[in-house]
Amino acid sequence: MRDELGDRIRANPKYQELVSKRNSYSWVMTILMLLVYYGYIVLVAFNKEFLAQKTGAGVTSYGIPIGVGVIVFTIIITGIYIRRANTEFDALKEQVIKEATK
């Protein structure tokens, strides 16, 4: 019974579309996040002087907006992914389930 359902789902092109679309999207987002965070860490490790450099006449360094920027980026990229997953991908998923169980 379960296998029959599985075969039906696998045969549905919408399922293939869902899996490939969502997986490639989540990997792209993952790689973006890794680039931003490890880019920042490599900057910390290899170019401390740049982060300590002043943005203007005051004491504020480039490290401050960059560091806070990483935090904001993290929140935004998570939000963007969830938005698309909860609308577009979930709608596709509902269709797949409906077509498989009807």
Partner: protein, 589 residues
């Protein structure tokens, strides 16, 4: 019947602890009298959470209620609860203290604690919810032989929980020592007793609500502190940084070592001593605006970053929270909200740390005779609360910080108890045929055992730096739990043998390399400085690699009939993880 007796007994134990606290407080000098506010607020928190626990106890009838609150928590509630589970005493007290001590380095540390959340969102949250039921072992072991994979998952869970618990207990001990004027060990016992009451009787429902309440209180309290600090500087971060640099420079100019170094440098170069001293002090003060010595070398930096990022995705008490929501959509919303709150919170701790430099380091009421912060470095945020909001607010923040610890230890203990009762007892010993009541009983016994162990370890590790202890837990979570979870869910050819051997290799290598590193080899074992065989701050870069490569190689080498079956079962697992068909849903309360 028996449960209610136990409940009363623990309440009595607790009441005696609080009475002792009050007694000790009465015996102190006048300065301690103000702490009644803190005690009263803490009392209100305890009364409120006890009421919730009583309500939750009436709803906790089955093992499913105990582990997942029946699966009926919404995404928004769970997001707050995750934030409440994750924003530990180490985050609040440790990071604000790190910012106060070293400035920018504290921000680097905080960012590491945040960046794991997108990874969980993109790769794990939905699959966890679709495949799992009570523990992350349900997910990792979906198509594997149960005994070995559960034994591994329970080990991974308990080791991580143990390290994390120690850090929380130490934080609790320090905090209450300062707040109530209590002996360290008494504070730890009170935390242990309260946490046991929440988990024993209220299970996941009580734990969730304790975490939600704590998250709301902590976010409100921290927002107020950051607001008050910014008000003083006319909402100009530049003005705040400038003042902090000025204070740090002035403090550096009085530092004996700096004066001696400056004198030596002046003698060598023939320049004026006062001039050299002033220049060196100014440079020292300004160093808080850029990365300092927190990151020793590039390898340590990357390794530590990996521990924090992937460790977050391997923390058993966090992973367990994904089973409390009804479906994948709510699971995603959970992480979304959690990321928002946690990110916002770390920005606040950064402001609070700088606020502590400007308000606390200059005020002799917060310093002892030697000019060191009263109660230790981790008390930066607590003193700042007093400075910006007076005694009432100090009482509030102290109560919140204490609630923070309670919420985190309750989540940790619940996770440890479920590893023993669900993974070991119900699945391994009873082969999945344990009845719910027996499983629940085992969870409760384990909760008591874990509570006692936590208290003993909390006392044994009194002098450790709490923020650092947490990083050990993260390294192990990143090297053992995360690779097994990741590979079992995403890689078709992963087998039981590969997952278990690779997972244990990751676990053991993370522990061994940590023991051989400076922090344990020199600081704890007392070996001479520089003799540590492992030269980096964090083992994660190496131990995670060992874990992943171990899983990969031993899976490929596995040619047993079982392995063939496990690979064949991946297709069905994939459909469930992608669509949620057949996933354990809300039990319908």
């Amino acid at each position: 019947m028996r449960t209610s007796k136990l409940f009363l007994g623990l309440l009595a134990l607790l009441a005696s602890g609080v009475a002792l606290a009050a007694g000790a407080d009465l015996g102190q000098a006048e300065k301690q009298a103000t702490n009644w506010t803190a005690i009263a607020m803490f009392g209100i928190f305890v009364a409120g959470t006890m009421y919730i626990t009583k309500w939750a106890a009436s709803k906790t009838k089955s093992a499913a209620d105990f582990y997942t609150a029946g699966g009926g928590i919404t995404g928004f509630q769970n997001g707050l609860a995750i934030a409440g589970d994750y924003m530990s005493a180490a985050s609040f007290l440790g990071i604000s203290a790190a910012v106060m001590a070293n400035g920018y380095d504290g921000l680097i540390y905080a960012i590491g604690f945040l960046v794991g959340w997108p990874i969980i969102t993109f790769l794990m949250a939905e699959r966890l919810r679709n495949l799992g039921k009570f523990t992350f072992a349900d997910v990792a072991g979906y198509r594997f032989q149960q005994t070995p994979i559960r034994a591994f998952a329970a080990s991974g869970t308990l080791v991580v929980v143990a390290f994390y618990l120690i850090a929380q207990m130490v934080g609790a001990g320090q905090l209450i020592k300062l707040l109530f004027g209590l002996e360290y060990w008494m504070a730890v016992v009170i935390v242990g007793a309260l946490m046991m009451v929440y988990v024993l009787f209220g299970g996941m429902t009580a734990t969730t609500w304790v975490q939600i309440i704590k998250a709301v209180l902590l976010l409100c309290g921290a927002s107020f502190m950051a607001f008050m600090v910014l008000v003083k500087f006319g909402f100009s971060p530049e003005a705040m940084f400038a003042k902090a640099v000025e204070i740090k420079s002035a403090l550096a100019a009085k530092d004996a070592k700096l004066i001696a170094d400056a004198a030596a440098a002046a003698a060598a170069s023939g320049k004026d001593v006062a001039e050299v001293t002033a220049a060196m002090a100014a440079a020292k003060g300004d160093s808080i605006m850029g990365p300092g010595n927190f990151v020793k070398d590039p390898i340590s930096a990357i390794s530590f970053g990996m521990a924090l990022m992937f460790g977050t995705a391997g923390l058993p008490h966090i992973l367990m929270r994904f089973f409390t929501v009804p479906d994948a959509k709510e699971a995603r919303k959970s992480v979304g909200w959690a990321t928002v709150w946690i990110g916002y919170f770390y920005i606040l701790t950064f402001i609070i740390g700088f606020g502590a430099i400007t308000f606390v380091l200059t005020d002799p009421t917060f310093l002892d005779a030697k000019g060191v912060l009263k109660g230790g470095g981790n008390m930066a945020a607590i003193h700042l609360a007093n400075a910006v909001g007076g005694n009432v607010f100090l009482g509030f923040i102290s109560a919140v910080a204490f609630a923070t610890i309670l919420a985190v230890v309750a989540g940790l203990t619940l996770s440890g108890a479920s590893a023993v009762s669900h993974d070991l007892y119900a699945t391994v010993f009873k082969k999945g045929n344990a009845d719910s009541a027996a499983e629940l009983r085992v969870s409760r016994i384990t909760t008591i055992v874990l509570g006692v162990i936590a208290v003993v370890l909390g006392i044994a590790f009194e002098k450790q730096n709490i923020a650092f202890m947490v990083s050990l837990a993260f390294a192990i979570a990143a090297s053992a739990n995360f690779p097994v979870l990741f590979m079992s869910v995403l890689w078709k050819d992963c087998t039981t043998k590969g997952a278990v051997i690779g997972g244990f290799l990751g676990l053991i290598s993370a522990v061994v390399m940590t023991v051989l590193s400076d922090s344990v080899w020199v600081a704890t074992l007392g070996n001479p400085k520089g003799s540590a065989p492992f030269p980096y701050t964090s083992p994660a870069l190496f131990s995670m690699t060992i874990g992943f490569v171990g899983i990969w190689i031993f899976s490929l080498l596995d040619r047993s009939p079982n392995a063939q079956q496990e690979r064949a079962d991946f297709a069905a697992q994939l459909i469930r993880s992608e669509t949620g068909i057949g996933a354990a849903g809300a039990s319908g309360h």
